[in-house]
Symmetry: C2
Subunit: 203 residues, 2 copies
């Protein structure tokens, strides 16, 4: 079983419960690290710089992108999102799995530049529950909710680009599925070439 | 998560401990079924017809093969081995995972005819332990042991055709890895097209 950490891209439509699941996953396994994205969108109430996101200006964002310091960048609802590459590579080489909780558009880009990453698409328990969750968030106007429903529809179509689909029926269940996926992925033959070489070496 | 059972091909060099692991796996999860292979080789002491293998004559074997009732057939050390297809398909459609413990040659054939199967290659904890185990088996002559070592060497080269590589360091560990693999594989997006369709249906 490889000792190198995995880059785990967790995505899914708005309303799938990505944030809740990721928080529970980090609590269950404290060795897992969370990639913190950079964004140009203003912080929501309760969000702290460096915890949910690095909240940076568009100028800073563009400079980092030009310097090749972003693993991917994406625009979503008029704001820029990006993934700083350096911390992920450092943690992976130290053996830590790194979770990248990311919008579908950004996730698809990471999957391309990092084909060894593990893509997990999170689904709400049902269509009805997805709609209920999107309507329930109190911080945005009706127009924004409408745009969200449209976006969720489009995002669901992207699930096929992810290796795994996990249904968020209960937090416990979804977290256990993800832990099983991480464990299984470390046994992938493609990740264990060194181990096989050692076994075949006829000393 | 799909409710259809998986066909799980467990293979590996002689001496990897396939038999022990499979037995422990069946004890841990009684819902898992074991595919019983047919063979023309004579039973070893303690083996029972219909439990370890269906011990059949070469004539019977060839008839079943001609009738298309074998998922694969292979020859190994001068004996024929084959996998009856019908019970596997029946169990899978009933939602049971079916373990196929099989020699590397036969496993490779199943992987071709059943691309949705899950291939697990079992490894002994080390090169030294592999050799020790092959030499320890008391039932065969020196010549047979020598042939076995050669075969194991060739078989190790086939690991790359299997999705996963599990090291049999302890039985408990290896069984837990395999259980994680089965759980993860049921979340594969490719196995959950129906689920995604349901989610996208705008009723």
């Amino acid at each position: 079983m490889t000792e190198k950490g995995l880059l785990v891209v967790i995505s899914g439509p708005s309303g799938a419960g990505k944030g809740t699941i990721v928080k529970a996953l980090l609590q269950k396994d404290p060795k897992i690290r969370l990639s913190v994205s950079a964004t140009t969108r203003p912080p929501r109430p309760g969000e702290t710089n460096g915890r949910e996101y690095y909240f940076i200006s568009r100028e800073e964002f563009e400079q980092m992108t030009r310097d090749g310091k972003m693993l991917e960048t994406a625009e979503y609802c008029g704001n820029c999102y990006g993934t700083p590459a350096a911390p992920i590579e450092q943690w992976n080489s130290q053996g830590s799995d790194v979770i990248l909780e990311i919008e579908v558009q950004g996730g698809a880009n990471v999957r391309k530049t990092k084909p060894a990453s593990v893509g997990i698409f999170l689904l709400p328990p049902s269509r009805e529950e997805l709609e209920r969750r999107l309507k329930k968030r109190g911080t945005e106007s009706g127009e924004v909710i409408c745009k969200r429903l449209e976006t969720a529809e489009r995002e669901l179509g992207e699930a096929r680009n992810y290796d795994y689909t996990v249904v968020n029926d209960t937090v416990e269940n979804a977290v256990e599925q993800i832990c099983a996926i991480l464990r299984a992925e470390k046994c992938r033959t493609a990740r264990n070439a060194e181990l096989l070489e050692r076994m075949q070496k006829n000393d």
